[in-house]
């Protein structure tokens, strides 16, 4: 990013959302990123075919998330007794009284919100990738998707599984169901999707006025 000249139109400026520093707009070359010189916030990411990649990743996320919620996730065996659970069973373990509120929150954090974000991303990006005009309410959809970002906690749940497994290891034998492996892939994809997305470019593409 270069320093600022005073005789410049507002569309040729970019402001760091974190620290309010002003730069004149200089879109980085393919494969490069523009970073705020003051606070290191990434302002623009320019990856080749970013929209297609993000759509492909999001589609995979949708499939994996639904599949991993349906199939058994973990199974426990101890002296002839066994129990296998899915991801949603884990959320609904909070079932007594007020704790059922927590069941809803947990189900949202590990299942509904990641799923919802992936679907919103496809809805917003598909027309952009195909160079069509944005869908109706695409702005609202992207707004919602961005607002939900900190509340998508699939990766934290995955680490929680590892901790839980070690905790019960001496009590009983635990084995992984198919959903466990799907969920592990899912976590990697969710993180990759966020790294490919350039918020600045998406908002610019959505600005039809």
């Amino acid at each position: 990013m270069t320093s600022l000249r005073p005789d410049i139109s507002l569309d040729d400026l970019i402001v760091c959302p974190t620290c309010d520093a002003v730069y004149s707009l200089d879109v980085p070359e393919e494969g490069d990123r523009a970073v705020c010189a003051r606070c290191n916030t990434v302002l623009i990411t320019n990856r080749r075919n970013a929209a297609f990649r993000v759509i492909a990743l999001s589609l995979t996320v949708v499939i994996l998330i639904i599949a991993s919620a349906v199939f058994p996730f973990l199974r426990i065996d101890a002296v002839g007794l066994n129990n296998s659970v899915s991801i949603l069973d884990a959320a609904f373990a909070f079932s007594e009284g007020l704790l059922s509120l927590l069941a809803l929150v947990t189900a949202a954090l590990i299942f509904a919100i990641p799923l919802c974000r992936a679907m919103l991303t496809i809805y917003v990006l598909a027309p952009i990738a195909l160079q069509l005009s944005p869908r109706k309410h695409a702005k609202q959809a992207f707004r919602l998707s961005e607002a939900l970002r900190p509340w998508s906690m699939a990766e934290i749940f995955a680490i929680g599984c590892a901790v839980a497994l070690i905790k019960v290891a001496d009590l009983a034998e635990v084995s992984f169901g198919p959903a466990f492996w799907m969920f592990s892939v899912l976590v990697v994809l969710v993180v990759a999707t966020d790294n490919f997305m350039c918020r600045w470019s998406i908002w610019k593409a959505l600005d039809t006025s």
Partner: protein
Amino acid sequence: MSQRSAKEMGLVACPRCTKVWPIETDRCERCGKTLHSRSPKSLQRVWAWWVIGVMCYIPANILPMLTTRTLFRSEDSTIVGGAVELIHHGSVGIALIILIASVAIPVGKFFAIGFLALSVQRPSAASQHQRQILYEVVEYIGRWSMIDVFVVAILSALVQLKALASINPGPASLFFACSVIFTMLSAQSFDSRLIWDRHDQMKKSSAHV
């Protein structure tokens, strides 16, 4: 390098979609967000969520997080109690993960947010860069405290072996989840642009002397 802020240049950037507007603009035409050069109620909201978060953290540590029933006994354990027990069983690593995620991170986060909010109200010894890094760490790491709630969910769903052994969630899990959520809201309410303003003002006043 002297870096000018949008506020000094009579501009305001939309915090949601990053479009730049003249400072007197009330509403972002691109995404509909109400614009403020600096969020006027930022600090009040930070402190309000902060206080609720701290209040929820107290019962989260006093009440039982888990109830474990085995053939001969039923036992309630708190967050710290559970970790101490793990150390007795030799699982020092897991106990550390639990203690870091459930005690060190939440308590550290209360102090960090409190410090950041105070540091923009009065001169601070820490540099803007140090405070910016602290803010990013708080934003990034705060969500990870949720791990203990997920561990409780997984254990309670999985360990349901009739008379042999069962684990059920305790009321502390709800308070703990609330504490994490409210602290995240507190951090999100903080307007990070304030960190860099104080610097600008100090530079100006020293230039007059």
